[in-house]
Symmetry: D2
Amino acid sequence: MKCADVFRLSMAHPGDLSELETLIAAGTIRAADVTAIIGKTEGNGGVNDFTRGYFTQTLMGLLSKHLNKPSEQLIREIPCVLSGGTEGVMSPHFSVFCVRDSKEEGRSPASALAIGTAFSDPVPAENVGRRDHVEAVANAVRAAVAAAGIERPDDVHFVQVKCPCVTVARAAAAIAAGKAPLTNDPNKSMAYARAAGAFGVALGLGEIGPEDFNDGSLLSDFSIQSPRASISSGVEVESHGVIVFGNSPNWSGQLRLAHRPMADALDIGAVVDVLADLGITAAPQVTALDAARIATVLVKCEPDRRGQIRGNRHTMLDDTDINAQRHVRGAVAGLIAGVIGDGRIFVSGGAEHQGPDGGGLIAIIAASN
Amino acid sequence: MKCADVFRLSMAHPGDLSELETLIAAGTIRAADVTAIIGKTEGNGGVNDFTRGYFTQTLMGLLSKHLNKPSEQLIREIPCVLSGGTEGVMSPHFSVFCVRDSKEEGRSPASALAIGTAFSDPVPAENVGRRDHVEAVANAVRAAVAAAGIERPDDVHFVQVKCPCVTVARAAAAIAAGKAPLTNDPNKSMAYARAAGAFGVALGLGEIGPEDFNDGSLLSDFSIQSPRASISSGVEVESHGVIVFGNSPNWSGQLRLAHRPMADALDIGAVVDVLADLGITAAPQVTALDAARIATVLVKCEPDRRGQIRGNRHTMLDDTDINAQRHVRGAVAGLIAGVIGDGRIFVSGGAEHQGPDGGGLIAIIAASN
Amino acid sequence: MKCADVFRLSMAHPGDLSELETLIAAGTIRAADVTAIIGKTEGNGGVNDFTRGYFTQTLMGLLSKHLNKPSEQLIREIPCVLSGGTEGVMSPHFSVFCVRDSKEEGRSPASALAIGTAFSDPVPAENVGRRDHVEAVANAVRAAVAAAGIERPDDVHFVQVKCPCVTVARAAAAIAAGKAPLTNDPNKSMAYARAAGAFGVALGLGEIGPEDFNDGSLLSDFSIQSPRASISSGVEVESHGVIVFGNSPNWSGQLRLAHRPMADALDIGAVVDVLADLGITAAPQVTALDAARIATVLVKCEPDRRGQIRGNRHTMLDDTDINAQRHVRGAVAGLIAGVIGDGRIFVSGGAEHQGPDGGGLIAIIAASN
Amino acid sequence: MKCADVFRLSMAHPGDLSELETLIAAGTIRAADVTAIIGKTEGNGGVNDFTRGYFTQTLMGLLSKHLNKPSEQLIREIPCVLSGGTEGVMSPHFSVFCVRDSKEEGRSPASALAIGTAFSDPVPAENVGRRDHVEAVANAVRAAVAAAGIERPDDVHFVQVKCPCVTVARAAAAIAAGKAPLTNDPNKSMAYARAAGAFGVALGLGEIGPEDFNDGSLLSDFSIQSPRASISSGVEVESHGVIVFGNSPNWSGQLRLAHRPMADALDIGAVVDVLADLGITAAPQVTALDAARIATVLVKCEPDRRGQIRGNRHTMLDDTDINAQRHVRGAVAGLIAGVIGDGRIFVSGGAEHQGPDGGGLIAIIAASN
């Protein structure tokens, strides 16, 4: 049987991997077991957020040294999904997901955390936000589910995807080559990339079929959504990287995963419910003892595009000074960190088609009692 | 007996007082009863936030028309305390506090909401953030407590003060006149003004004595703090305006007030506790029925100046792109709005000496069942 | 004959009209002569810039007092065009354009500054950025040219238009009424409004004909442009307001107007050339004596949408922290203020179809020697 | 004799050193000749600008590969001075300064560009902005002048220094160790670090003596300034790195250096004058032929701390949305790039004590005709 471990580590700056280095040096983490990384860096989370690239370069250099493989190869083998923006109470951190062979055999009586990863081929700029993009993600999702050895689709609880987007420069290059990118507005491109990624997860998990959408559905038909899809987009990748998380009887260990859709940015009920799914009570805050059982918290959210939350006007979308995604990440992280009692949570903006329109989703990995 | 009413109104932009105009036209509000205003406008909350001045000009123009008094006089009679910055889920709104004679006589068996106001003389730029500033606030607090007819100091639950600050231009004018302002950094000046206001409240309420502090204590000795002081600072006022809120047997009505200190930006317990003080349960969210009883929510908070929250690094203070107060307002408002289920809450940054260091305070006015 | 005067006044904040008040009190300006205002306020220049509304409310209140007309009427008679954003060396200021009867008769041997204004009907949200919008502006331009008594189209040198745009709230209201706004992205809406305004000026001045464009040409066919169109867009207006500036032998006075297209954001040559057109030398800076002859400087500019200036990458469009228009205004104002030696210049972003693609235009009004 | 070469290279993002890699691969640049780097990266230029660290890590990795030395050693041998913030028309780029032995002997009839570098020991957080800091810089300046073999102090034209600053975390660590940092406000700390660096250059070049200042002079007595000092400050370094540039008869080559103080942010005369010193005419813009002779442009500037430029109010210091240094860099770069016709210029904010108060300085390296 295989067993997944999660190490949630802090960093002093986006190039600081010293906590990981220490754990590898101590033998706590075997570099060869590192399967995926999901982290929050302290950039602005937008097109010009280079903290993601800086972290990635540092990580791959560190693993390269321990694994004797070039960074260029590792970057295509180990998904490193970073979301920029630690607004408000969020604390920069990264979760290292490791997979090792356990000594146990047979099947877990209770299922345990299972992880699988996959990569697509590089994505041309003109494909971003179109059906080719959706299908490339769906194929990678299916490959990752298979890699995780998860048998029942319902046992998949969270799929993290990182998609490339189009910068002004990439758009110009594509146009010069006679191609037509969907948009040359970088922030718009990131939104389309996230939407296509969400459709890809829904398609790959069988939540929707190939006839249920067309190019026009993206960022338009918000009835299409996956409550298990978490999509990031950034300039620093050229292929889709996919990490599938589920519970499986074929895996051993104390960790289990649960998820809930969030109806809107005020949905504290979803946070309490997903904790309850894992046997943890928040009344109103998780106790320190229970908080220590929580391995990682993964959240998607968005500023309601209709300009209101429960009938009251919000100002996130009309703000020229602060990007709307930065606004909503700060607010939702404030809510969830208050329930958990810990700012080391992954809250990522841009939840188009990822959970209910105007809301998003939350997934938590925690150890059994 | 007197009776206080609270009307929480929304606005489409900082110059939109149409909801107030409608209520006055309908006779629901008598213009002569308007005693104070506390609101959140959608500016940046900093020195160059002119949404506060825009709202104030519009409000005074409207009341001037109904009361046949010049705006210049009204602005010195009716405190209008605005906090800029509706980050995240906050919704721009303002609470109109009205005081009228009720037909009831004698004393309320349960105390009811009592309100009193006062103004200081204009404050010279060189006094901002110094003992003169502290004492001017303290005197105005005492005058407002007396005006409210609150007899026991413990019955005061919330004191809102608006203090002037020093802009680059005001500092230059003072220096040209041979005076020495404490600082010519506008954001620093706002911080000192808030600190001095908090000391003034503590002094005025008898929480500290005149020997308990000197000029050097401001922004330095954070053991001195008042859990009932809420201070705003802005360029648009020249005097200290004070509004005292308490519960008093001399007042009638259904409204009552409670407050709690907040230990830090994750202190969801304080939010649940202050609701419980008013007989309202949040499990995890206030029901719609109970939410309708809530008249207004008033909060102060701050980015922990030590750079950490519960041992985890936050990035609010090192951010060159987004002002730290905008960060923390968004996070704390996200938490509280999630518990209340409503974004129309007054969350104001800059809680120096207002509640515990790194935290702040919350006060809620609600109607009895 | 008529005569136009220009008063360039400073302000301490967006609600400060004290310099105008002083000039009216002194009799230097007759309130009834005030024909139009063009100014730079210190907001962010975006959808949520309320400094424009604040200034406008203050201005109309002041003129209302002197003219005994309600503000609501004046706002439909006197165009008040404000551009938010005094980035870098720009100084908040406003130019008051007055028209009076002069004692001179006959015709000016040299033409003199001529000004005419006009307003359109209110613009429904669903029309913004479409042919109806273009034609409404064109009609207003023709009316303003006629009002100015300018006979030859070539004598028109600058047309300032202020168009309404669509906020999230306005878009939602239109959709609820069964209408389809072009976009519900406020910044996109402002761009379409400016583009439609520029097409309207070109159509109104006969630079293009009605068959030369369709709805798809806006923000797409950048060969269509007017080197005399300056368009602002904002939430605070509901009709198009047009001010036409030209030189005419039917007007008297010392002031004359010239304009030049700017090829890109580095086109210092255009600045020197337009000064030369008015008999002013910059070598490299205008002398203090000549600077005193300059009545007002009006500029449009934009961040090159292709991501490069003269072959070098710029980062304005990929910046999530600072809006691209704020970037370019600061840079172009730095250039022009350096040549003029004065930060009181009107530099407005969003030059879509206003002058060459990636550049813009400059117009200067100056007195003869 | 030695000869200095300058290569001005563009980058697609802060981790993109491909142009340098290409030139090394082609043999145009010998990795061993690389002596110093000065560049503009596209971060925000503040405490939380990690584009500088990202670039530095990438550069040192590249040189490490070619030189077979560890990055940790190279970073202490090759000054890499980066200024974040390519506001407006600035283009991200870096200048590589190489020193090689030339075949020429004797002395240059005209002096040629000479370069020398030096590093201080690591700087404890509590020393930042104090006399120890000043003296450490002065000693490093003297060492770099000697390394350059420049004999006459007047032949030094530009001294670039990079100083460490204090973050919230570093301040907390120092306080925990019983030390008292000057300030725990990161932006304030960067300002003090730049001031101390400027004093260090003035002291090292003999412009001031050790008795001419004390700790209280920093950021206070602005009559003390060096027109040849350019100081950056950042979290990513722990020692002072110094690069001295001058002209010397002991060096060969076509390059020469000139500098001028800038009186204020509108001082276009200084730009034209420094070009004239190098035999280049700007009328109003440098011709393409002459622009090709320009090797690099180095500028320091600042928002006038008195809130005015030539009597007109600016809004840079009161802006809560955009950092004042970002404002002024954008404006001054707009001016200079317009004269040069090229956005690849190094314009760095924070010119405290570097050139005249409220202004700064400009240095240009260009080839002879």
